[in-house]
Amino acid sequence: MNKLIPELKKSFVTALWFAFLTFPILVIKVNTVRNSILWRWGNLAAVFVLTMALSYVWRRLLEKRARGERLFDLSGLVPAKLRGIELKSVFAQKKNSRAALAVLLALAVLFPFVAGMYQTNIVTTALMYVILGLGLNIVIGLGGLLQLGYAAFYAVGAYTYGILNTRFGLSFWIALPLGAVLATIFGIILGFPVLRLKGDYLAIVTLGFAEICRIVLENWNDFSSGPSGISQIDRPPFFGIKLSVPQSAIYLYLITLALVVVTVFIVRRLENSRLGRAWEAMREDAVASEAMGVNLTIAKLSAFALGAFWAGMVGVLFAAKTTFINPASFTLMESVLILCIIVLGGMGSTAGVIVGALVIILLPEYLRAFTQYRMLLYGSILVLMMVFRPGGIIRKVRKSYVFKADGQVEGAGHE
């Protein structure tokens, strides 16, 4: 109780400060026609009371977090029968986690047939960002290479399909691997000059690389039709049959979903391999990893190449989905958005990146109901998440092993 007064005092000062800051825009309203000023004192009071309350709650929550307590105790909502069963331990068993995954996948497959075309389309976009996130996660989350030019590889894939399809009539299924491979080659090309760079310097160079790619696309009219972009790209045909627009939305959704499954499968395997360990060692300490026999050249180039691979693939998907591409789709903002997905979801954690992509892409769509407050809410939610879960929504769990007395592995699981 004796802490209440100083706490309230702090909130009071914050509220006062906010009232002062918002005074010019929220209180004074100048009418230039009638040359009069309207003083909206009611607004001032509202701002004051609201910020005081918010600031108080905010500080209480931060304090709670500092004490290591749970922010919201939801245990009251769980039926008594199920209490005491830890979700983690239920899913730690392979059988249970597999069953849960199968149910989730079945629901995901059924989704477009139940939901409308709008829903299908936005979820398809979100799934594309899941793949992009997982790809960039190899470079940043595992390899620790701060790469800010990821959109360039995305553009390589999109333009591969756009140009080859509109000019040479190449089909989607041939362009898909081709776009991925071309992006991989670009990844390696970018990888060579930056082999000796790390951290901020690497970020600047990759950023520059992406800008070069975008500006070339914008200005090389004969090649890429410049800023007006490439239109009338074919949607993927279903075994030669041309689909209607709603049908093809469902078809693309299913293709993307399948690719997400493939990506997750491959990325998980890479992560738990000799190469994945080398990437993580490089992230933790490049000098030490080299001294332990890790070839940094191979580790870096493979991280760049494999990261770019997925971007190229999603680029082809993107071109097929929107049927129109232009350089404005591949700006720095795009790279930053994908980086946000990783940071928000949880660096290096596959599940985290998936959830992060869904949150970042779907949230602004579902917030449309709030019309003009949409972006304000979106921003605040991102800030709150980062304050209360700085490690990301789902943090990476390291594999742990149980050994028998003779040193044989008895079991492997997650902590």
């Binding site: 360990r277 001294a291 332990m292 026999g293």
Partner: protein, 263 residues
């Protein structure tokens, strides 16, 4: 006398105008424990860095003779190649992979001895799976030798300081070296831990058939474990000999304690 496994001849290292090492020659023979001592900034770690490929020396040759193999020059090899050849090192300022588990740290040390590539990782064929099982098992065995097995699933950064130093040694041993270079392994350890380290160093040499080359400031440790000592000061080799000889060597005493000034 057994044959030499590391031969450094007239090694010089310049950093711009600064000569960190000047014409230093050293030899390590099979099965020896050799110490490299000298005041701070004398060039000890620079010498280690030259040997392990962090810097190519400005002049001179460094060659190794792995047991049962012919000599080869390792001057301009990259660090990971030097490690593959059979030299392993630890770092003066602990450089563990902080956010990885203790076991994973040791598994990284096995990296150069494994073969799996990208395709193997994705397909996870029989030989890759077998290799993975083996690396987990081998790494655990190494942890047992260094008595770190109770920390196996712990993150490296959560280990007590002394254990972190030992983990560096475990990780280096995992690369299967014939020569282990320890850069101040006892720094920051308490006397009890240092005593334990004595035994460990000798035990590693005896059971793993590894020769040991160590930089150390803790003179009691150096005098107890090493069979020969090299002393450097200002980048120059100033003395070489058994611990007893070094203790009596007036040049060494002068380097450490300074010269009397006659007014």
């Amino acid at each position: 006398m057994s044959e030499s496994i590391l031969d450094a001849k007239n090694v010089t290292m310049n950093f711009g105008g600064l000569r960190a090492l000047n014409d230093v020659s050293m030899t390590i023979r099979q099965g020896e424990i050799v110490a490299l001592i000298g005041p701070n900034g004398a060039g000890k770690t620079t010498f280690f860095n030259c040997v392990t490929g962090v810097y190519p020396p400005s002049a001179g040759t460094i060659s190794i003779t792995p047991p049962g193999k012919s000599p080869e020059v390792i001057n301009n090899l990259l660090p990971h190649v030097v490690t593959e050849k059979g030299l392993a090192r630890t770092f003066q300022n602990i450089r563990l992979f902080q956010n990885m588990t203790v076991l994973e740290n040791v598994m990284i040390g096995r990296h150069a001895r494994l073969k799996a590539g990208i395709l193997g990782a994705i397909l996870r064929d029989g030989s890759t799976r077998e290799e993975e099982q083996k690396v987990i098992h081998d790494s655990y065995e190494i942890l047992k030798k260094i008595e770190l097995e109770k920390y196996v699933n712990e993150l490296a950064k959560n280990l007590p300081y002394g254990a972190q130093r030992l983990l560096e040694i475990a990780r280096a041993l995992a690369t299967e070296p014939f020569l282990l270079l320890l850069d101040e392994p006892a720094a920051g350890m308490n006397p009890k831990e240092t005593g334990h380290l004595d035994d460990l160093i000798v035990r590693i040499r005896d059971t793993e058939k590894v020769s040991i080359f160590l930089i150390e400031h803790d003179m009691s440790l150096v005098m107890r474990v090493s069979e020969r000592i090299y002393v450097v000061d200002y980048g120059q080799l100033i003395a070489e000999g058994t611990p007893a000889e070094i203790k009596r060597n007036p040049v060494v005493i002068k380097a450490y304690l300074g010269e009397e000034v006659n007014a």
